[in-house]
């Protein structure tokens, strides 16, 4: 049975004609795109067993509904191979989940980017980079899947600069940001298992973040010292109270290999790390002004360090993953916008 596609069809003399016209039509985000041919998109939908009008999610504030066909079209344009489609569509579903607050993150002036974090056995078969250079360029699967989400956001969710996208500066991670957790590097429980999925399940977690901040620490030899530093660095900017998300509020930490090795050798599990970090992240700020507001990160009025407030109601909101390559003691914290991390099977 041939499935009927709903999108309008455009015809070009050759693929270069499409690539150029994609820029003219505003379908591309500045990077070149692949032609989403009718036969190719149809074949992928058949392979996935999805009807073209299967709904992946919606944005009620903008009367938007995103379908499987639309998502596949954009994922093909981004360069996803057929076997990567399930992951790309999982990321779209996560992005459109109510707790991800798509309207809020698209339209923000502070311009959150979207982390696509992959867990499960499919990382290997899909070629997802979890190691050296995993945050940046160099791996097709990472680049294409992250870019697929970006194109869906652009083309299906009105996120065009000047329309719903109101970024003051935007940020480079908005082009593409996808990586995998290096589950095999240690016996730490993978992120998706900590969030209730099975070890053998493939899960994608999407988190919007307004900023990523690094802890560069090559000197600490004790877990407590390292994690105290990490908490201190993390509190250089606040996480505000979100009354809608409540206990679902999340912040993501990605622990690099050197720091992971230090912690693992000392016998610390992820649960231990979280238990140590959480009270240090959420303790009341040392310094507040007359209205009870924290001074913000930096020098305190009486010396020492002033911390920002972290309104993270539940320790489970501290999401821990490990990734990256050897060579420097680095870990990162990602600050959430008005949205929670959302995990979806794929």
């Amino acid at each position: 049975v041939t499935i009927d596609l709903g999108s309008p069809v455009h015809r070009y003399q050759d693929s270069r004609g499409f690539v150029e016209d994609a820029f003219n039509q505003g379908w591309a985000d500045g990077l070149p795109v692949m032609p989403p041919t009718v036969d190719g998109v149809r074949a992928i939908l058949e392979q996935l067993g999805l009807a073209p009008d299967s709904v992946l999610g919606d944005i009620p504030s903008q009367d938007i509904t995103v379908t499987a066909e639309q998502a596949v079209v954009n994922a093909v344009m981004a360069g996803c191979r057929p076997e990567q489609m399930s992951l790309a569509l999982g990321a779209v579903r996560a992005f459109l989940a109510p707790n991800a607050n798509a309207h809020g993150v698209i339209g923000s002036v502070v311009s959150p980017a979207f982390m696509v974090l992959v867990n499960g056995p499919a990382r290997a078969t899909l070629g997802i980079n979890c190691g050296a250079g995993c945050f940046g360029p160099g791996t097709r699967a990472n680049a294409a899947v992250g870019h697929a989400l970006r194109l869906v956001i652009r083309n299906c969710c009105n996120a065009v600069p000047g329309l719903a996208d109101r970024a003051v500066f935007s940020q480079p991670a908005r082009y593409s940001f996808c990586f995998g957790e290096d589950e095999e590097a240690s016996d730490w429980v993978p992120l998706h298992v900590e969030r209730g999925f099975g070890t053998d399940e493939n899960v994608v977690t999407v988190s919007s973040f307004i900023e990523m901040h690094a802890l560069r620490d090559v000197e600490s030899v004790a877990p407590e010292v390292l994690l105290t530093q990490l908490a201190l660095v993390a509190r250089h900017r606040p996480i505000d109270t979100d009354h809608v998300l409540g206990a679902d509020r999340t912040a993501v930490f990605v622990i690099g290999p050197e720091h992971r090795t230090l912690l693992v050798r000392a016998g610390w599990t992820k649960e231990d790390v979280r238990a140590y970090l959480y009270p240090r992240l959420t303790a009341p700020p040392t310094y507040v002004d007359e209205q009870g507001r924290p001074f913000g990160w930096g020098s305190g009025p009486e010396g020492g360090v002033a911390e920002s407030t972290w309104a993270l109601p539940d320790p489970k909101g501290v999401l821990l993953a490990t990734a990256g390559g050897a060579g420097l003691g680095l870990s990162f914290v990602f600050y959430p916008h008005w949205s929670a991390s959302v995990s979806e099977r794929f």
Partner: protein, 207 residues
């Protein structure tokens, strides 16, 4: 001479042929038929009216002072019967469904405010639009720096719900003093009231 240790991209010949591609653009869900709801019947004046104030956030450091100043002026200068003040839990989202329903059942007119950032301005505009769709004459208040976001939401929603702008020198989301806020409210309120009433000019109790 330094040797290049890896292949670099070289010229290629592509034997290309015509392609048929699918458009990647949005297929927006059906928007409510708003033609008849965009301009609900407006009261002659605000006197005796129930006014809903949908509060996304106040600018600056004074929590909700903008809303309080606005409500005070409405009561003192325009003799409104009641103000239903809805302080939203999140500026980027609509009010809770039950609260929204209460507003729709009680309010004669609606004011959504304040659009001082990208998401709160677009959502503030949408709040006013959805009140209009519910048959309640409404207006949004936002800063002129957020005009693009507000206009985008009107385009996306296919709505012509009005909005009133706060303009410079007060920054969109910066620190406003209470006296600055008072001045802004007094400056914009006649325009706000004019968008909610069918009278030729807003009627103040005091000149």
């Amino acid at each position: 001479m330094r040797k290049v240790m890896r292949m670099i991209p070289s010229l290629v010949v592509v034997d290309d042929s015509p392609v048929a591609v699918l458009t990647p653009e949005v297929r927006t869900a059906a928007v409510p038929d708003v033609a008849s709801k965009n301009r609900p019947e407006m009261p002659q004046t605000l006197e005796g009216c129930v006014v809903a104030v949908i509060d996304s956030d106040s600018p600056g450091q004074s929590e909700s002072y903008f809303a309080k100043a606005l409500i005070r002026e409405l009561r003192e200068e325009f003799a409104v019967a009641e103000v239903v003040w809805v302080k939203k839990a999140n500026r980027t989202r609509p009010p809770e469904a039950s609260v929204w329903q209460d507003v729709i059942e009680r309010a004669d007119v609606g004011i959504s405010m304040y659009g001082g950032c990208g998401t709160c301005s677009s959502r503030t505009m949408r709040d006013a639009i959805e009140l209009q769709w519910a048959g309640i004459p409404s207006v949004a208040i936002s800063h002129e720096d957020m005009r693009g976001a507000v206009e985008s939401m009107r385009r996306i929603s296919k709505a012509d719900t009005p909005y009133v702008e706060v303009n410079r020198p007060t920054s969109a989301s910066g620190a406003w003093t209470e006296s600055e806020t008072d001045a802004v409210v007094r400056r914009i309120l006649p325009s706000v009231v004019a968008e909610l009433t069918s009278g030729r000019a807003p009627v103040r109790k005091t000149a």
